[in-house]
């Protein structure tokens, strides 16, 4: 059976929006107890909760309830939020993979378009690309390379597994887009007819 005073102090500390010290608690109880007596009761309460999912802790003479730090992972649950990699990011990733180590300027030269900082950030967030030091040229630009996580995600044993340019061409991956499109639409026959006419 918990005594009434202990219950009252426990409830106060629970409902308070700021940590309370022994003097404040005594004041709210009508100053019939000394802060020392209050402190003793607070310690009893803290001991009662020890080892549970609720802790009564002291910070600079003020007491407040909190949840134990070792349970923080339950309170901040992480959830997967899958996102499809953008076309631009896929291009940059491919360039890093085929040409590593590369600087951002080199990536842009190969792509023929400016690469936004966010694109590289996304690849680094995905942990597929990581900085690999600086190139010893004027300006000492950062250079990037792919990671083991990259190889793992794309099911590659090593970078040497990446198909060469000729393989890509054979697979039709180097066909101009509009030609490939027309082929798919079966309009090529008409063009040939036109040529014959």
């Amino acid at each position: 059976m918990i005594d009434d005073l202990e219950r009252a102090i426990e409830a106060m500390l629970f409902a308070s929006d700021t940590p309370l010290d022994a003097r404040q608690v005594a004041g709210r109880l009508g100053d019939e107890m000394t802060p020392g007596e209050v402190r003793a009761i607070i310690q009893t309460i803290a001991a009662r909760h020890a080892g549970s999912g609720i802790e009564l802790v002291e910070r600079g003479g003020h007491w407040h309830f909190q949840t134990p730090a070792d349970l923080a992972h339950l309170l901040r649950r992480e959830r997967d939020d899958p996102r499809k990699l953008s076309r631009a990011a896929a291009e940059v990733l491919a360039i890093v993979a085929y040409h590593e180590p590369v600087s951002r300027a080199e990536i842009e030269a190969i792509r023929g378009v400016q690469t936004s900082k966010g694109t590289l950030d996304v690849l680094m967030e995905a942990e597929w690309v990581a900085p690999a030091g600086r190139r010893e040229v004027p300006g000492r630009p950062l250079i990037y390379k792919t990671t083991d996580a990259f190889l793992q995600h794309f099911g590659l044993t090593s970078r040497k597994d990446l198909p060469g340019i000729e393989d890509l061409r054979a697979a039709g991956l180097l066909d101009p887009v509009d030609l490939a499109f027309e082929e798919a639409m079966g309009e090529l026959d008409l063009v040939k007819d036109g040529e014959e006419a």
Binding site: E78, R83, G194
Partner: protein, 257 residues
């Protein structure tokens, strides 16, 4: 009037009219509420209440209020008229053919009062419960439970390789391959039309001049270029054009033929 109901507010009137009392009707939530208050003054269970007595109480009350020159809201007057009717029906000898009978009307009124009274009591008991923020308190600043979204990027090897293919393609020397669409040029149409005009002597429709094996997009192109060619030949005075009206077939023949 013997006694005013307990929650009847007597508000001193404004100074310039201190000869009158103002009785506030805002104390009641409508005529049914007033009836219930009056019924309570009978100090009996609502099941045993005298409806006739209640009707008289209500009518007296409204009459007093009007004597005091109070504004009585319309719905209170409507109820008064209805109750006056009920009273006379209850007092008159019973007409067995009357439907609904006054007793039935009285019973309905009683049932309504019982239901309103039940809810009034329920509301009072509800408000008297231990309420959060008044009687019981929650943690003022709980840590809160959070869901943190962790982005997981997704791409396939195909995405990667086709992206690289596009990059390589962009950086290769640019060779434009414009696919030729099946068209009949204006020159070809002019040439063709000039030849055909010599053959056809009378008025003939423009489409008759087109080769019969042209179809699909090629035919549409041929019509368009032949039309422009016909206008050009007319401008040169080499053909005459004729059309019955807008969107009608266009006829042409060699000039002077």
């Amino acid at each position: 009037m013997e006694e005013l109901p307990l929650d009847f507010e007597i508000v001193p009137a404004a100074p310039e009219r201190d000869d009158a009392l103002q009785l506030s009707f805002e104390s009641w939530e409508g005529p049914l509420d007033l009836l219930l208050t009056l019924a309570r003054s009978q100090k009996v269970d609502l099941k045993q209440i005298s409806i006739l007595g209640l009707v008289e109480q209500y009518l007296t009350f409204i009459a007093e209020a009007r004597e005091l020159k109070l504004e009585v809201a319309a719905d209170y007057l409507v109820m008064a008229a209805w109750l006056a009717y009920l009273k006379s029906a209850l007092l008159l000898p019973k007409d067995p053919l009357e439907d609904p009978s006054p007793d039935e009307l009285a019973l309905r009124l009683q049932l309504r009062l019982q239901r309103l009274a039940a809810m009034r009591e329920a509301a009072a008991r509800l408000l008297a419960r231990d309420r959060v923020g008044r009687d019981v308190f929650l943690r003022a600043k709980p840590e809160g439970l959070r869901d943190i979204k962790v982005r997981r990027w997704d791409a396939s090897l195909y995405d990667l390789l086709s992206a690289y293919g596009q990059v390589k393609l962009r950086s290769e020397p640019v060779v434009h391959m414009v696919s030729r669409r099946p068209v009949i040029t204006l020159d070809a149409a002019l040439h063709h039309l000039q030849r055909m005009i010599g053959v056809k002597l009378d008025w003939a429709e423009l489409s008759d001049f087109l080769p019969p094996d042209y179809d699909g997009p090629l035919r549409r192109s041929a019509i368009a270029s032949s039309f422009v060619a016909a206008l050009e030949l007319a401008r040169q005075g080499r053909v005459d054009l004729k059309q019955e009206g807008a969107f009608e077939p266009l006829y042409l023949k060699a000039s002077g033929a």
